[in-house]
């Protein structure tokens, strides 16, 4: 049987004893920053899974919601710093979207800290590893999200 195209982002999340699972959507520029973290030997927690996207502004907030539903404990968007960017608008859009999404999540009772935006330039591998470690420990404190189970349980 062929591998039928994987339907869910959640398939990428491996189930093990609980450690925060974090999905990071990295834009092209910042993903080279993430790569650089690897080259230069900066350590960052292995439970961050990066998905490279052309620009942070193409990340539809629906996908962030879907990632959370499918089992991610937090979603991280790394974007170019607005001040360093030739085109400012995309990062501003991302920023606005994330802010809106956080408001929405807060309203429905999901901790807003689970959706983050991180400004990473292409040469900031060190910053990335430092910030991500911080985020992982913060998410660890928040505990597992388990949105699906929460939706199933409440009657």
């Amino acid at each position: 049987m062929k591998n039928w195209p994987r339907r869910y982002l959640g398939c990428l999340v491996i189930n093990m004893t609980w450690k925060p699972k974090i999905i990071a959507f990295t834009c092209w520029c910042s993903s080279s920053g993430v790569d650089q973290a690897g080259f230069e030997g900066f350590k960052y927690p292995p439970n961050v899974l990066t998905i490279r996207v052309p620009c942070s502004a193409v990340v539809n907030p629906s996908l962030v919601v879907k990632a959370l539903e499918e089992g991610a404990d937090a979603v991280l968007l790394t974007a170019c710093k607005p001040t360093e960017l030739r085109r400012i608008a995309p990062s501003r859009i991302t920023e606005a979207r994330v802010s809106l999404l956080r408001r929405l999540l807060k309203t429905v009772g999901v901790e807003e800290e689970r959706v983050r935006i991180l400004w990473i330039s292409s040469n900031e591998g060190g910053v990335f590893s430092r910030e991500v470690s911080k985020i992982v420990s913060e998410v660890e404190k928040l505990g597992p999200l388990n949105l699906r189970r929460r939706m199933l349980e409440q009657t």
Binding site: M1, R6, R7, Y8
Partner: protein, 335 residues
């Protein structure tokens, strides 16, 4: 006919609830609905009717059909033990179950999931003493006192319930708690009869239907009437989802961990994708046709095939339709 005192009924309900085998009407979030209960106190015996019909216990919104594992092959997961007593169903909704029986269990193919659930759930109906404004069960004779399809019929009199045993399964339940029931005396029987007469008389809608006339609906349908309603219709599926008799289902394959699963769940003939084929062809492309199909199916095709109406007059679709499409109008015009 038997009778049972209210306090004795409580004892039975509490016993069932403690076994986690009681589904009864409760008020949740501002409306009545059926729910599996742990404590019998929550039951609202004064309820009007549940907004979501009890069909969801027999035909769930989403149900696993089978699982397929490329390594192990097809596996059918046995359903969890669903043994329960569905208490307090209105006679109209109970009648819907008997119509569903004739459709879904029609040979040669019997729907195994429905049959399974039907076997494991005992239905106790509770006569309707305060019919709602939208109700028209008297039209199809599915209420308000007794319907068909239930195992026991309870009719509330003062402080006492008249109990009518309808099936052997109902009798078995009565036998289990035999001490709590009493034989009904002549006075009770008389009272019961009076109540029945009064309740049927109280239903204030003046709809009369003639089956012979109604089955011609399909041919004699007034185009303008259905076009007018179609213009209003917003194609939400409230009417089908809240209909105790709508049984159409959709199936869908999903990917689960290392296996594929097929689920089935409610579908609605009002949706434009209901008959649209992959090639884009749609034999029922217009909204008016879909509405006509819905009404014809209920009012002329099921009567033709099964000697029962496909509508039981609960009035859910009438009340819940956001744009006021009213099956009673159809009945008045063609009934």
């Amino acid at each position: 006919m038997l009778s049972i005192k209210s306090e004795n009924l409580r004892i039975i309900l509490e016993d069932l609830a403690s076994k986690n085998a009681l589904i009864a009407p409760v008020e949740r979030n501002g409306y009545f609905e059926f729910s599996r209960l742990r404590k019998a106190e929550e039951i609202r015996l004064d309820y009007t009717n549940a907004r979501i019909p009890p069909k969801r216990f027999f035909l769930p919104e989403r149900q696993l059909v089978f699982k397929y594992d490329p390594k192990k092959g097809v596996t059918e997961e046995p359903e969890d033990d669903f043994k329960a007593v569905l208490f307090g169903v209105r006679p109209c909704d109970a009648s819907a179950l008997s119509v569903l029986d004739s459709i879904l269990l029609k040979p040669p193919y019997r729907d195994p999931f429905y049959e399974n659930r039907r076997k494991s759930i005992i239905v106790i109906s509770l006569s309707c003493t305060k019919p709602l404004e939208e109700c028209f069960c008297n039209v199809f004779e599915t209420g308000p006192v007794r319907g068909f399809g239930e195992d026991l019929t309870l009719t509330p009199m003062d402080k006492i319930f008249a109990v009518e045993v309808r099936t052997p399964r109902g009798l078995a339940l009565v036998e289990e708690f035999r001490k709590l029931f009493a034989e009904a005396d002549g006075r009770l029987l008389e009272e019961h009869e009076n109540l029945t007469r009064r309740l049927v008389g109280e239903m204030n809608n003046k709809i009369r239907v003639d089956k012979e006339k109604l089955v011609r609906l399909e041919k004699e349908a007034d185009e303008a009437f259905f076009q007018g309603n179609a213009q209003r219709c917003i194609e939400c599926s409230i009417c089908s989802f809240t209909c105790p008799l709508c049984y159409c289902f959709e199936s869908e394959d999903c990917l689960e961990k290392n296996s594929y699963a097929r689920f089935r769940g409610w579908d609605t003939c009002i949706s434009p994708s209901f008959t649209r084929m992959a090639s884009g062809l749609d034999p029922r492309a217009s909204k008016a046709d879909r509405l006509l199909h819905r009404f014809c199916h209920k009012l002329s095709r099921i009567p033709l095939a099964f000697n029962a109406y496909g509508c039981i007059g609960c009035g859910r679709c009438v009340s819940l339709c956001p744009v006021g499409i009213d099956i009673r109008e159809v009945l008045r015009k063609w009934g």
